[in-house]
Amino acid sequence: MITGTVAIFRRELAGYFATPVAFVFIIIFLLLNGIFTFYVGGFFERGQADLRPFFVFHPWLYLLLMPAIAMRLWAEERRSGSIELLLTLPVGLFDVVVGKFLAAWCFTAIALALTFPIWLTVSLLGHPDQGVILAGYLGSLLMAGGYLAICACLSAATRNQVIAFVVGVIVCLLFTVSGTPIVLDLISSWAPHALVETIASFSFLTRFESIVQGVIDVRDLIYFASLIAFWLFANAVVVELRKAG
């Protein structure tokens, strides 16, 4: 039922902008992006016309910022009791889940689009490969969707937004670093090779880095799409199981 999804999407998106929180969030996002790109990433010192120093920090930014966007989605409904109203309206549970997720994702897309001055800067200073930059933006948005789907599901498991945030950060961290030595060194000595490979393949970091270099592998796209689908499905299951409590 498209009507219901659209109505919920619009309400949630407007909800972000109903309070100054949205603007504070966007300012923090842009500020951190600027700091990381120009100071930590050494945008000018590298002397290269590309946006690598900009994109490379996105997984770490999202790690903290996506749980903040998604923590409210379900926890607040459960705390205020409005979930009872929402789920007795003539709209399917999965339509509600999708509507809420899309609103959070759209909000992230708006914040990401507002980083365009960095793209302008690099385009004016040199001749970057615009295709690679576009791939970077798409990859970044896709990865943000993955983080949001995870955190939306976790938000449904509690009525406390702070708990939703903290648990969200932890689970997102696991997905971020699963392909790095931090995790692989820990398990490679004892776990079978296939398991190590599987865990490594869950990593956002490795997949995102190849997309940022302009290598769009269909498997990476499928990975993020199925990850989002899986967590949205889990989200519906969690809502169904926990709504009584």
């Binding site: 039922m1 659209v6 009791g81 409005s82 009872e84 109203l85 007795t88 003539p90 709504k243």
Partner: protein
């Protein structure tokens, strides 16, 4: 055909049985009162009728639609005021009602007419542009009522519609319910006995998840009859105590010869 049909409804939470074999039906034109102590299973029953909680067993049909098999069709026929009238605190009543109209798929002139009608009926005009969390308890309750009647549903389920309202507001809500009663099937829950006398045309006394007694007003406003017990006007509390606890001032209750 009854607008609401409930058969052998059971809801268990773990080892606790909240609703234990409740069954009844409600026709158009009826205002059915759920009367019972706190924790009797009134709200849980309403949550199952409106499709929020799935029953452990039993069957619910609203306007002929089985809530388990055709939940969306059933939900379209229902207006529901959940306990405590939850709403989205950061929205204004106008934005909130617009959202409800959107989700319910109302469009065009019909949508505008229904919005205007609900706002006028509930008298929400003065607070339409104020965020809901700044409103008084009475107005919050009225926003919840406006949301419930917005799409002019055949079936209204109102969980403690007058709880926390002042006497004038209570009177206004009761007048509203009575005004809609002729064309709808309405269930209200309450633990205020005078409310049953004021608005209901039938009443179920519910305790510990079971229907203990079913009551109807006597002709000529001569009080209420619950099974073999009769209560004089304004004396419902004695019957209620007798049925729910087995004790009560027997001089205020007339037991009919079986």
């Amino acid at each position: 055909m009854a607008m609401i049909e409930i058969e052998r409804l059971v809801k268990r939470f773990g080892a606790f049985t909240a609703v234990d074999g409740v069954g009844f039906s409600v026709e158009r034109g009826t205002v059915l009162g759920f009367l019972g102590p706190n924790g009797a299973g009134k709200s849980t029953t309403m949550k199952m009728i409106t499709g929020f909680l799935p029953p452990t067993s039993g069957r619910i049909a609203v306007s002929g639609f089985d809530i388990a098999e055709q939940p969306l069709s059933a939900k379209r026929c229902i207006g529901y005021l959940p306990e405590g009238a939850p709403a989205y605190a950061d929205m204004t009543p106008r934005a909130f009602l617009d959202f409800i109209a959107d989700v319910r798929g109302l469009t065009g002139a019909d949508r505008q007419r229904k919005l205007d009608e609900a706002i006028a009926r509930i008298d929400l005009e003065p607070v339409l542009e104020q965020p809901i969390d700044t409103l008084s308890k009475g107005f919050k309750r009225r926003v919840g009522l406006a949301q419930a009647i917005l799409h002019d549903p055949e079936v209204l389920i109102l969980d403690e519609p007058t709880d926390g309202l002042d006497p004038n507001q209570k009177h206004a809500v009761r007048t509203l319910i009575k005004g809609m009663a002729a064309t709808k099937a309405i269930i209200i829950s309450t633990h205020i006995l005078e409310e049953v006398e004021a608005v209901c045309t039938r009443s179920l006394i519910i305790a510990r998840g079971k229907v203990l007694a079913e009551g109807e007003p006597l002709p000529d406003a001569a009080g209420w009859r619950f099974g073999t017990l009769e209560a004089a006007p304004g004396r419902l509390d004695a019957v209620f105590r007798q049925i729910t606890t087995g004790q009560g001032a027997s001089d205020q209750v007339t037991e009919l010869a079986a």
